[in-house]
Amino acid sequence: MRIPAAFRRSKGLIGAILVLSVFLVALLAPVFIPEDWATQMDMRARLSPPTWAHPLGTDQLGRDLMYRVLLGAQTSIYIASAAVLMSIVIGLPLGLISGYVGRTTDNVLMRLVDTLLSFPALLLALTISAVLGPNLQNTIIAIGIAFTPFLARIIRGEALRVAQMPYVEGARTAGNSDFRIIVHHILPNIMPAVIVQSTISLAFAILAEAGLSFLGLGTQPPDASWGLMIQASRDYLDRAPWTALVPGVAVAVTVLGLNMFGDALRDALDPRAKGGS
C-alpha cells in the first residue's frame, strides 16, 4: 500500500482546513445565526427529509438540522477541547513524573490512575457530573477527569521508555537538573504520542458529551450539541436516517480533520522528517 506523495504532502493541509472550518463554524455560527433558529419547531415538517426549506432535513420535533448542527458545533467543540485540554494539563505532569521518578512515586500515582481506569470512563463522567450538577462547566470537568487516566498511562509508559534512553543518561551526566531533563529531553520525545492520543481523545470526548447529554447530565435541551443530536436520532434511524447522518458526518469530519492535522503536526515537530532524504 503506497499513498501518493502528493496526497501525503497535502494531508496536513487538508486536515488543517477541516479543523479550521469546524472551529470557524463553531465560532461564527452563533454570530450569524439567531440562536432560536435551532430550537424553532416546524410541526408540519417533522422528520422531513432534506428539502428547499430544510436543506438537511428536520428532526422528530421539526427542528432544522442544518441550524442545529451549525449551532451545536460550538457546544460540542468547546466541551471536547476543554475536556481534552484539562486531561492533558493533569495527565501530562502526572505521567511524566511517574515515568521519570519511578519507584514509590510511580507506584502511588499509578495505583490512583488504575483506580480511575477501573471505572468505565462514561460511568466516571456520569458520577462526577451527577455529583457536581449538570451544567457546561461540570460536563467539561467530568469528561476531563474521566479521560485523564488514559493519557497519564500512555505518557507514563512513553516517559519510562525515554528515560532509559542513553541520551537521557547522557543529559544527566551533562549536569542537567531533573526538571530540565524532563522538559528538554523527555517531553519533546513523547510529544508524538501525546498529540496522537489527544486527537483520538477529542473524538471520544465529543461522543462522551453525547452520552452524558443523552442521560440528561450534559448539554441541556433544547440547546443543540452533536452528541445530543446523535442520541436523539436513535429511535428514528429507520424512518429518518438523516437525523443521525447529519451530526454523524459533522463528528466524522472533525475527527478526520483532527487526525490528519495531528499526524502532520507530529511529523512537523519531528526533526527527522524534515530535510534529509
Partner: protein, 610 residues
C-alpha cells in the same frame, strides 16, 4: 570457476532497485559471482554495501522488503535442473526456499517464533517439504538437533525458544536450515549478535556441517576476522557494488583494490600489538602515518586517578503481589581496580558479565550496593545528588554504545554539546559558541554540523558528537561503554584513533568497556577480564594477552577469530562452558574475591572450591 566445477549458483549482473519517495534507489548494481558446491563464499562489506540485499535476492525475499530484481540472472543448479531464480514463480520459490536453499538470520532471538515449541517449528518445514508424518518428522528433528550437538535434544523439542540460550537458539535455527539437506546455506551475519565463545562454536558448527554434507555456504558478514576463518573465496562489496573477488588467501595477502586495503587496514588483529609498549593508532589507508601514542602516566606517580574498591552492584528481581525483592542479580561482585592518569583500562567480557554495570556504577548511573569508588580521594558513592553533579560528572563522562540512542533526536547538536558547558558553569554567553566550535574541531567534525539534528549524521559522526559532549567538561576520565561496537570497521578505526589521539594530547584516562579482544589489545594499557560479575584477571596488556593465567581468559582468547586466513582456529567443534546465572536468592553472600599476584601487577582470581 574454482577446480573447474560447475557452479551451484551463479549471480550474473544482478541489479536490485527499491522504490522510494525520492525515486528509485539502487540497492545493488552489476553484481556477479558464483558459488561452487562445497565451497564457502563470504560476502563482506560495511553497512549499506548491499551484502544482505544480494543474499535476500537469491531467496527472492528481497521483494518482501520492497525491492525488485531489475536486471540480472540468478542461475541455480537445483535438483530439477538449472533454473533462473530471478524469473522463478512464487510456487517454484516456495519449493526451493528452506528446501534446496536454507537460510540463517542474524538474530537468534527473533528468528524463532516465541509461541511455538522447538518441535513444532522444526517439524513444520519437514512435513511441508518432505511430506513426513508427525512421528517421522519428530524423529528427523531429533536427529537434526543431535547433528548440531545440542545437549539433551529430547528435552529441547518440548521447550519454547525463550528457555534456550542465544547460542542454543542459533543451533536450532541452523538445524532448521539444515532440515531438508539444502545444497546451499545462506548465513546472514549468523554470529554478529552472539558472544565470542558462542560465535566460535557456531562458526565451527557451520564449517563441520559444510564439510560433512558437501554443502555450499554463502556467508554474509561485516567481520574480516570471521571471513579469514571461514571463507574459501571472498566477495568484497561497497555501496551496492562488487569491489573485489578472489580466494581468501589472495584477498588478505594481496588485495588489489583500494577499498579492500582500507578495510583490512582498519581491522585490529589479535596479536598485532605483541611487544609494543603502549596503545597504537591503526594505520589507515590514505591517512598520515600516526605517531605512536605513549602512555601518559607520569613516572612514579603513586596516586591513581580512580580507585575502585570492593565494588558490588546488585539489581533486585521483583516478584509476587507486592513486588517484593525475591532475588538479586549480582551484576558486579567485589570488583577492585584502579586507573592512573592518562591510562586506559579495558574491561572485557561477554554479555552479562557485569562490565557495563561496573562502568555505570562508577558514574552512579547504577546505584552500587557496597564498596568504594575514590576519585581523587573523594568517595563517589558517599556523595549526594548535588555533589555528584558538581564533582563527579565534571571529572568523569560517559560515551555510550548506540550512537543512534545517545543523542536526543529533538535537539540540535550544538545545544547538546552546550549543555555541560552551561550547566557546569564552564562558559557563558558567546563563549559557549566558541567552545562548541572548538570541540567540533577537536573531534574533526565540520562546524556546519553544529546546527544539525542527530539524524542528519552517520553513526560515526554521532559518536564523535557524543565524544565532544563528554570532552566539553575537560574530564579526567571517560567511561566508554562499547563506544565503537556499533560502528563499521573503518569508522570504528577512525573513532579509536581519535580517542587515542585525545588521550595523548589531553592526558585523559579511559575505562574502555568492550567485548572485542582485538580492539582492547589495540587501545589499552591495562586489561581486566570480567566473568559473572567478578574481575577474574587484571594486568598489563602484555600480561593478559601474552601470559593469560585464568582459564576463562584462556577460553576467551582462544575463541577470538583472527583476521588471518593462514591462522585458522575454527576447525573442530568447540564446546565452551555456558555461563551460569548471576541470579541469587536474597541474602546470598558470595565469598569475597581473593587474588594471587602471579607477576608484579598481574592479579588472578583464586578459584573457589565449588
Amino acid at each position: 570457476m574454482p577446480d573447474g566445477n560447475t557452479p551451484l549458483v551463479s549471480v550474473e549482473g544482478l541489479r536490485v532497485e527499491f522504490a522510494s519517495d525520492g525515486g528509485t534507489i539502487v540497492g545493488v548494481e552489476n553484481v556477479s559471482f558464483s558459488v561452487a558446491p562445497g565451497e564457502t563464499v563470504c560476502i563482506v562489506g560495511e553497512s549499506g554495501s548491499g551484502k544482505s540485499v544480494t543474499s535476500l535476492s537469491l531467496m527472492r525475499l528481497v521483494e518482501f522488503g520492497g525491492g525488485t530484481i531489475a536486471e540480472g540472472r540468478l542461475r541455480f543448479a537445483g535438483q530439477g535442473g538449472e533454473i533462473d531464480l530471478a524469473q522463478a514463480d512464487p510456487e517454484t520459490m516456495r519449493g526451493i526456499r528452506g528446501n534446496e536453499i536454507g537460510m540463517i538470520f542474524q538474530e537468534p532471538m527473533t528468528s524463532l517464533n516465541p509461541v511455538f515449541t522447538i518441535e513444532r517449528q522444526m517439524t513444520d518445514g519437514l512435513r511441508a517439504h518432505r511430506g513426513l508424518s508427525g512421528a517421522q518428522a519428530r524423529q528427523r528433528a531429533l536427529e537434526l538437533l543431535q547433528e548440531v550437538r545440542i545437549p539433551e535434544p529430547e528435552r529441547r523439542l518440548k521447550q519454547y525458544p525463550h528457555e534456550l540460550s542465544g547460542g542454543m537458539r542459533q543451533r536450532v535455527v541452523i538445524a532448521m536450515a539444515m532440515a531438508c539437506r539444502p545444497r546451499l546455506l545462506i548465513a546472514d551475519e549468523p554470529t554478529t549478535a552472539l558472544d565470542v565463545t558462542i560465535q566460535a562454536e557456531i562458526l565451527a558448527l557451520i564449517d563441520r556441517l559444510k564439510r560433512e554434507n558437501g554443502m555450499a555456504v554463502l556467508f554474509i558478514t561485516h567481520d574480516m576476522a570471521v571471513v579469514a576463518q571461514m571463507a574459501d573465496r571472498v566477495v568484497v562489496m561497497y555501496r551496492g557494488n562488487l569491489v573485489e573477488e578472489g580466494p581468501v588467501g589472495r584477498i588478505f595477502a594481496a588485495p588489489q583494490e583500494e577499498y579492500t586495503r582500507a578495510l583490512l587496514a582498519a581491522v585490529p588483529r589479535l596479536g598485532d600489538m605483541r611487544g609494543k609498549p603502549g596503545p597504537e593508532p591503526l594505520r589507515l589507508v590514505g591517512a598520515d602515518a600516526p605517531d605512536s601514542v605513549q602512555a601518559a602516566v607520569p613516572p612514579g606517580d603513586p596516586e591513581p586517578l580512580l580507585q575502585v574498591l570492593h565494588l558490588t552492584t546488585r539489581y533486585p528481581v521483583k516478584g509476587g503481589l507486592f513486588r517484593r525483592t525475591v532475588a538479586n542479580v549480582h551484576a558486579v561482585e567485589d570488583v577492585s581496580f584502579d586507573i592512573a592518569k592518562g591510562e586506559t583500562l579495558a574491561l572485557v567480557g561477554e554479555s552479562g558479565c557485569g562490565k557495563s554495570s561496573c562502568g555505570r556504577s562508577i558514574l552512579r548511573l547504577a546505584e552500587p550496593t557496597s564498596g568504594q569508588v575514590l576519585l581523587d580521594r573523594t568517595d563517589v558513592l558517599a556523595l549526594n545528588e548535588r555533589d555528584l553533579r558538581r564533582k563527579v560528572w565534571r571529572d568523569i563522562q560517559m560515551v555510550f554504545q548506540d550512537p543512534f540512542a545517545s543523542l536526543n533526536p529533538y535537539m540540535r547538536l550544538a545545544a547538546q554539546v552546550a549543555e555541560p558547558l552551561s550547566n557546569f558553569g564552564i562558559a557563558k554567553g558567546s563563549e559557549i559558541e566558541d567552545r562548541i566550535a572548538a570541540l567540533f574541531d577537536r573531534v574533526e567534525l565540520p562546524r556546519s554540523f553544529m546546527r544539525r539534528f542527530p539524524h542528519e549524521l552517520s553513526g560515526g559522526q554521532r559518536q564523535r558528537v557524543a565524544i565532544a559532549r563528554a570532552l566539553a567538561v575537560s574530564p579526567k576520565l571517560i567511561v566508554a561503554d562499547e563506544a565503537v561496537s556499533a560502528l563499521d570497521v573503518s569508522v570504528q578505526a577512525q573513532v579509536l584513533n581519535l580517542m587515542m589521539e585525545l588521550q595523548s594530547t589531553l592526558g585523559i584516562s579511559y575505562l574502555f568497556i568492550s567485548h572485542d579482544m582485538a580492539v582492547v589489545e589495540r587501545v589499552s594499557h591495562r586489561v581486566g577480564v570480567m566473568y559473572l560479575g567478578r574481575l577474574v584477571e587484571i594486568g598489563s596488556r602484555a600480561q593478559i594477552f601474552e601470559n593469560p593465567r585464568h582459564p576463562y581468559t584462556h577460553s576467551l582468547l582462544s575463541a577470538v577469530p583472527i583476521a588471518d586466513p593462514a591462522r585458522r582456529t575454527v576447525r573442530d567443534d568447540l564446546k565452551f562452558r555456558p555461563i551460569p546465572s548471576p541470579v541469587f536468592p536474597v541474602g546470598h553472600e558470595p565469598a569475597p574475591s581473593v587474588y594471587d599476584e602471579v607477576e608484579p601487577g598481574h592479579l588472578v582470581l583464586r578459584q573457589q572450591a565449588s
